[in-house]
Symmetry: C2
Subunit: 355 residues, 2 copies
DNA sequence: ATTCAATGTGTCATCGATGACATATGGTGT
DNA sequence: ACACCATATGTCATCGATGACACATTGAAT
């Protein structure tokens, strides 16, 4: 009974043949635009269903010079769920607009980022999102190819606009929270110094903001930062299999101080996770003996105790980010980019010193 | 000086024009096959570099009837890092072979899975990987379109072959480990009963294997399973924002027993994370008062204490999985599919009862 | 009867890369 | 001298969807 059983999916021409109309009519039915008689429409729809026709996105893309695909460049995707979350929500929004995203994980490596961008260009993505750009020269390749690019949350290069998160509001809330609980010796455990702003970037970097909020949080309480309580390094070492060893190491050294801190403010949940391990190992309890606050709200709810943390608006970043590049694709320019708020999420890792 | 500044990337024809040769010669240079004089080659290469030419993957795909793309269908990507890991390694292997992967997260929803598969077909993926297939009828759509499909680790449908993991070896190791440490009252906290095998699937399901290993681990020690120590439910409830509440709830009820268990074997790190929280909250310590073992080795190293767990071969799953579908694409049939081992990873959440 | 707009349908060039095929030149072997 | 092969390069149909354009037909308005 059936003859049109070629291995690949059917073509529009086959649909036309089966429905006894021209390809143009089929196209009109599928696009739901132009004049088509009810009778022709019915025949085409029947043929589509019978053959199981699915339009070929490559052919359409070639003709329309639009792939309906955007690239999303990410960092450390298997270590830090932050990136997966942002990517997930961008993808979600993309799907709702008939788009699909391509992910690429450069893992912090500029050479890999370059390869990823070349792949994106070959695939003719209509735009690119960066959730961590590395090298300005790489980002410029996109501009040269006429592909809009947008940075989400972390803006490392002036070569592309960015949707930023106001890291300060949440971090200040966190500091205020600790101070209100009576903490005076608050340690800072922070990320990659590379992120602490160097070179000509568009505004302060993520870590700069968090550090500044830490300082002004202390200042507001009439305190001055104690260098002995500050640890800057990286979020995690990839070589070590992406464990939280950095936070562990830093917290351990803090706990060995003569006068140890009563609270630790870590700028990443992964760091905080390591801090929790160090505290536990020292035979102390969180939050009874020491309070810990993280950042991002990624693995926070899975930790013991559940971690109080500064949440990032990951869904908004992804969704608004996609809509922004979509606008750029369609109108040629970006809409006004919002500054998204971060906010403190209270869980069980902070408590009053007065116990 | 430059004139060829069209917004989109240049075409092969433009390269040919600039190099003063035909498109065929350019193609020969790029493919590195066929005869080309050194002089022509040099001119083409110079033109490619000058214009910044990148081949158009859509045009190539259309012509070759190959997209060099594979779809990867995933579950609960933002809740369980297991999926991200497998996807990451499949992508990594794909890149090394000139392929790219498209991810789609059905989140356990068959209707979404269907949509994802339709998107895959429209994009003309050359094959599809499932790390959690939901509905057999969806998987059949691919067969009808002539697209090879392969299940990784979880095989829920006979409609596609699978690379399976021997969940038993690792789980048995885990049980032996606990028994050797003196544990006799070992609780089982397991996943979605849906995964405990029903209907005609190809062999036992993941949870069946884990449960059976639990039982035979007990039997080997001359113990019989105590129904009061078994909790079956789901890994996590998505409604609750993907927290580990299920493991927490189960462990809490176990700790409230007259005779509480001395060890908990959870079949997912996320479940184990919840168990750790319950133990902590009860004022007990892991591993001093109670031992906990997880499964997957995803967030295990970030937990407090670092979790002893049964590791899944996520890298092998991804890499070998990709290579298998690549073979299927090229030869039309799958190679022999291995049964990959799981293995116990010792960390700090298990200890002897004799303290 | 004539003009015009609305309705309905078909033809075909195009997007960019590819590879089958045709063609041309020079050198080697007999 | 001729046959033959290696080398070198160009022409063009093709993949499948799209949309500009042309062509019909019908009914209403003038």
């Amino acid at each position: 009974m059936n003859d049109d059983r070629i291995s690949r999916s059917a073509t529009l021409m086959q649909v036309a043949a089966r429905a006894g109309v021209s390809t143009a009519t089929v196209a009109r039915v599928l696009k739901a635009k132009g004049y088509v008689s009810d009778e022709a429409r019915a025949r085409v729809e029947a043929a589509v269903k019978a053959i199981g026709y699915r339009p070929n996105a490559m052919a359409r893309g070639l003709r329309q010079r639009r792939s309906f695909t955007i690239g999303h460049m990410l960092d450390a995707i298997i270590v830090n769920p932050f990136f997966v979350n942002v990517a997930h929500w961008a993808e979600e929004e993309a799907l709702e607009h008939g788009y699909k995203t391509f992910l690429f994980n450069h893992n912090g490596d500029g050479a890999r980022e370059r390869i990823g961008i070349e792949r994106f260009i070959e695939r003719r993505v209509d735009a690119v999102l960066f959730t961590n750009a590395i090298a300005t020269e790489n980002v410029r390749l996109l501009a040269a190819a006429g592909i809009p690019a947008l940075q989400l949350e972390r803006s490392k290069t002036p070569a592309a606009p960015a949707i930023r998160v106001d890291n300060k509001v949440g971090a200040l809330e966190a500091m205020r929270h600790l101070v209100e609980l009576g903490h005076r010796r608050i340690a800072f455990v922070g990320g990659d110094p590379d992120l602490i702003g160097r070179g000509a970037t568009a505004g302060p970097t993520v870590e700069e903001d968090r550090l500044e909020a830490y300082r002004s949080g202390l200042a507001a309480a009439g305190l001055s930062p104690d260098p002995a309580l500050m640890r800057l390094g990286r979020y995690y070492s990839l070589e070590a299999g992406g464990t939280s060893s950095e936070g562990y190491r830093h917290a351990k050294s803090l706990l060995e101080l003569e006068e140890r801190p009563t609270a630790i403010f870590a700028t990443c949940d992964i760091l905080a996770a390591g801090a929790l391990q160090a505290v536990y190992e020292a035979g102390l309890r969180v939050p009874d003996d020491i309070s810990v606050i993280g950042f991002d709200d990624t693995i926070a709810a899975n930790l013991t105790p559940q971690l109080t943390t500064v949440a990032q608006p990951m869904e908004d970043l992804g969704r608004i980010g996609f809509r922004a590049v979509l606008a750029a694709i369609e109108t040629g320019e970006f809409p006004e980019l919002p500054l998204l708020p971060s906010r403190l999420v209270l869980r069980r890792s902070t408590a009053s010193t007065a116990r």
